[in-house]
């Protein structure tokens, strides 16, 4: 291993690819696609490498010593302010059990989505350049430990995504792209405000003993680092932690997307090209929940504990509301989009449980939802490529026409409804078990179990309407899968089945971190209680 900066490498490799692609002549589309494929492939290998050398015993969360693959050096340093003193921003990367599943997911989904992009024929150069930029942004969010850096990566995703939807999207792409853009931007503004607020409330002790304000997320988790008078400091009796928490939470919740901030998602999905839908559902949505776990929880453990009922309640609303809305959809892709909303509700519910089982379930559900929904969107894309419509009622009987495709679809659908043996089951079960164990949200958990009924309802109904029955005459021309489509579906299917049968592989990975998180939350209850006296 040595000091090889593997995290920087995995993060910025796509940028290199982007530059190469930008230098290529316009008509070398195959080369561009291959470069993108190779780069994302290398990312998968690097992610595997990370996994191979990962130390399962180190928890991370708030303890910098137990993060792995740390890279830290001074990025920016400005001095000479009055009360601010010195401004320093670190380039600080590292992963723990929360981030490594997400890094893996990002690498895998990026690779698969590259394959899904293969048929792009409009402005190929721009597409793949932006695509690689997007990949860097996503990867960066999951490895950054400096809040400023985190925010930079967070914003970095915004524009590529906007263009990828807006240029290569469907008929109403402009509307969808701007909607996506405005929502996400609104969220980022909230996040930025809190970042600044936190910055001015925490001070880090430097090697020479002086204290400086810091963007270091991990320092923000330690109460000793808070400045007594900081607006977000718990020691300050007039602190604004509650408001800041809400703002930060909404900033992340827009990405999840949490009811009622979810309406950008169906539009964005419907208009986005297949590969971008895959990325959007597979990775981008996870950033919301990841952000909450990475920042909201450990930085504001006091407020989190007060708000836990609300997080669970909104999770429940997402689950049931998303499922019911999905049931009424006529567009296949829109239906899957709403199902995403529903499934992300489980993540929120699991997070709210504040115990190892529930949080493990939530993180596992993030990963599983990533793979399952990616597969579902690929499935929608395959049929859209062939039939140029996504109207559910326009189809029927595809099982006869495209049996192998239907087989994959069935697998994905069953995984989505949480069928045992497939990955979705264990994460949902954990979420429920965790939620039930926490008295505050017990009732909510029980109500949320309705989601598994509704989920099965709309999924099976869709399966029936599109795949079962007799084939209409006009779809008798549809061909079954080709090699490229196999290459996308098979790896995802394998992951789905593997994690269904052997979830420990992923659970062990996050175990230490989840435990550290729970321990931190419990310890902080007493700690914050002694500080603020509530």
């Amino acid at each position: 291993m040595g000091n090889f900066p593997i995290l920087s490498f995995i993060t910025f490799l796509p940028i290199v690819g982007m530059i190469i692609i930008l230098c290529l002549p316009k008509n070398q589309t195959l080369v561009m696609k291959s470069i993108t494929l190779v780069i994302t492939g290398i990312q998968v290998i690097l992610a595997g490498f990370l996994l191979y050398h990962y130390n399962y015993g180190m928890g991370g969360i708030n303890n910098p010593a137990t993060f792995q693959y740390i890279e830290k050096f001074r990025w920016i340093e400005i001095s000479g302010f009055s009360w601010i003193g010195k401004i320093k921003i670190d380039y600080f990367l590292g992963i723990d059990g929360l981030s490594i599943p997400m890094v893996l997911l990002t690498a895998i989904i990026s690779f698969v989505a590259t394959l899904a992009s293969w048929k792009i024929d409009k402005a190929v150069k721009g597409y793949f350049a932006l695509y690689l930029l997007l990949v860097t942004g996503m990867m960066g969010v999951f490895v950054a430990l400096d809040f400023f850096l985190f925010y930079v990566f967070w914003e970095l995703m915004l524009l590529p995504m906007y263009f990828l939807i807006g240029i290569w999207g469907g008929p109403r792409r402009e509307y969808a792209a701007i909607k996506f853009f405005l929502y996400t931007l609104l969220g980022s503004v909230f996040i930025l405000l809190v970042v600044i607020g936190l910055y001015f409330s925490t001070m880090e002790t430097m090697i020479d003993g002086t204290k400086v304000f810091t963007f270091n997320m991990l320092s923000m988790m330690d109460t000793h680092n808070f400045v007594a008078t900081g607006i977000l400091s718990p020691m300050n009796p007039h602190n604004l932690r509650f408001i800041a928490y809400i703002a930060l939470f909404i900033g992340f919740a827009i990405k999840i997307p949490m009811f009622p901030f979810h309406t950008w998602l169906p539009d964005a999905h419907v208009e986005a090209p297949t590969a971008i839908s895959v990325i959007l559902a597979g990775v981008l949505l996870k950033m919301g929940t990841y952000g909450i776990l990475r920042v909201c929880y450990p930085v504001f453990p006091d407020i989190t504990q007060k708000m836990i009922w609300w997080i669970a309640a909104f999770g429940m609303i997402n689950i049931i509301y998303g499922a019911l809305c999905a049931m009424a959809q006529k567009d296949f892709k829109r239906l899957i989009a709403y199902s995403s909303i529903s499934h992300m509700g489980y993540v929120m519910l699991g997070m709210a449980s504040l115990n190892s089982i529930g949080i493990s379930g939530a993180v596992l559900q993030m990963f599983n939802h990533g793979t399952i929904t990616a597969m579902l969107f690929i499935i929608v894309g395959i049929i859209y490529d062939r039939a140029h419509t996504r109207e559910i009622d326009a189809f029927g009987g595809l099982a006869t026409q495209m049996p192998i495709y239907t087989g994959f679809t069935t697998l994905a659908f069953f995984a989505a409804i949480g069928l045992p043996g497939l990955s979705g089951f264990i994460s949902e079960t954990f979420v429920f078990l965790g939620g039930f164990a926490f008295e505050t949200i017990r009732v909510i958990t029980v109500i949320s179990t309705l989601g598994i009924l509704l989920g099965a309802g709309y999924m099976l109904w869709t399966l029936q309407r599109i795949y079962l029955g007799t084939v209409p005459e006009k779809w008798k021309v549809l061909k079954d899968l080709d090699f490229r489509e196999y290459a996308m579906l098979v790896p995802l299917s394998i992951i789905i089945i593997f994690l269904g049968v052997y979830p420990s592989s992923m659970l062990n990975l996050m175990n230490s971190s989840v435990n550290a998180m729970v321990k931190f939350m419990m310890d902080s209850k007493a700690l914050y209680g002694s500080i603020t006296g509530f």
Partner: protein, 713 residues
Amino acid sequence: MTEFNLIQIAIAILFLPLVGFAFVLFLGKKIKSAYLVEVGILILTFLLTAVLLFNKLYWFADKNIVSEFSWISYKNIAVFGNISIDLGFLLDNLSVIMIFTVALISMLVHIFSIAYMAGDKLYNRYFAYLGLFTFSMSGIVLTHNILMMYVFWELVGISSYLLIGFWYEKKSAPDAGKKAFLVNRIGDIGMFSGIMMLFNTYHTFTFEKIFAQMASGTLPFNSEFWLTVTGLLLFCGAIGKSAQFPLHVWLPDAMEGPTPVSALIHAATMVAAGVFLVCRIFPMLTGDALFIIAVIGALSALIPATIALTQNDIKKVLAYSTVSQLGYMVMALGVGAYKFAFFHLITHAFFKACLFLGSGSVIHAMHHEQDITKMGGLKKKLPLTYATFLIASLALSGIPLTSGFLSKDGILQGTFAFGSLTGYWLFPAVGFVVAMLTAFYMFRLIILTFHGEPKNKEKYDHAHESPFVMAMPLVVLSALSIFIWYTPNPINADAGLFLGKWIKTPSLSVPQNARYSFMKTDLVPEGKAENNRDISNEVKKEGTAEGKEVIYSEAYTEAMHHAHYPAMFLSLFVALTGIVFAFVFYYWKKISADKLARDIKPFYKLSFNKWYFDEIYNATFVTFTMLSSRVLAWFDNTIVDGIVNGAATVTRMISFFTGRFDNIVVDGLVNLMAYLSGFIGLVLRRFQTGRVQTYIVLVVFSLVIILYLFKTF
């Protein structure tokens, strides 16, 4: 044979069908005869179960063999401590007998299907699904913890879904499959909630550990009430899977699947899984829970029996009969007649499978005609089918010398005893009424199908006896409907090894005061237990030196004893009455069934229309869900997106960007803001007139204002 060998065999039994499933699914397209692998695997599996059954019952009859390994484990975590979610086997007499039954019927159904399904274009796929089903079902039976049971529970659900909807091209089949799955999921939610409750209390899923902790006094939320609730929630799973009232509506529809599937899944094994579940969790069911279970069972026994009277579809009649019989078993469990419930489960599995396969044979012969009013006189054409069908029907009706007589009698005896002890005479009453109804509709079915004149001459002429592969299973199953396999004494089931030695009521873990009064432990002196052979079976050795824990009080044993003969004769009487009535109506035609139907039209219609359950559910739950989904989708599009999130603003902004700024949507707070910013822009534009003199006036004017302001600072 060591215990470890048994576990190895169990592993093989569990996974062989899965291997078959995978093999046939992936290679079915390439290899035309892949199904033979699956059939072969099933035969092998059956042989293994036979070995397992023999060895377990012979060598380890009193021992529960458990083997487990950790699937997911957590060490020292907050709230839960150490958690290990295990995968494991529990081989007790219950499970080995059950697995033997499952494997046997599955094997027979596989063999039967070779001919029955011949020519289907997804022939291999069918066998693959059967393999998946057998795997899942074996899992339910063999597992030692509730979570794994739930896992396999879902898996049988999905294989049932696949098999019901096997002929997916006709609309009704996938509909039925979907309905089956969703109705089952309703029950599963309950079951899952129960599991959450258990896990939350005991931090484990393993039955034995849960019962052990419960016996030492740990209860969900420290209250017996919640223990009752937990038991009932788990029972919800059984309501769904065993098609008990009020979730029984899926089973008749499930007859859309191929008939052998109905025989295997919807008569013999999967639907019995619910009863099996209740058997498994029997130690943790409180008196209150058991009473509610008994009520549900009674209702499930009665209502479908009345419906079966008027149905004309041969498979629907059998389906309602299945629901009714399952209700019987559940009722039996509810009144505490644990052994007889399980006994009936096994006997019913054989004769009901025989009936279904027989009906399959008929349907096959009649070229997929299922309406019994269009059959008749098939006795001559299908003599073997007729004979086996008759034996199974006699068993179902509870005629002596059949296995059904023994088990049904036992159940009626149990309800009788329960009635005498608690005063709830309604249960035995329901039991006898149902027994009569059963005998009636079964013989109605036989008479209309096999006797009389053929009503569809053309099809009748083409009908022919089934080939060997279809006949053989019928013969085997009908043979298993005879008493001799279970007990040497045709009127006393307890005399046999099956009830006498192998199946015992498990000791309860429920606190004493939450049990039925007759199940409270009273310590019996050593000597007395010796005296009474009958109750010695119920006695289980306890670790304490004080004495032996008796599961049932003496009064109960007494009552059972007294109930034996009255119940037997009464049941024989009602069964014969039913048969006679059937002959009167349909064979001798002394009374016109049509006329009677006209005379009691409301009742007839109620029965014929299945008590309108589907209609009521459609009008309420389904409509409500669909309506709320539509309303919510509208709400989402219009209210949430439009007002809360100000998508109207976005639209407006876009139209503004594109230069088509119109005033179509001007409402909502956010729009007001947009309007305001637009207004500011418009006002500012007023100043930029393009006339330089105006600018200078403005400059001078603002200069004056600035000076004024400075003066006042």
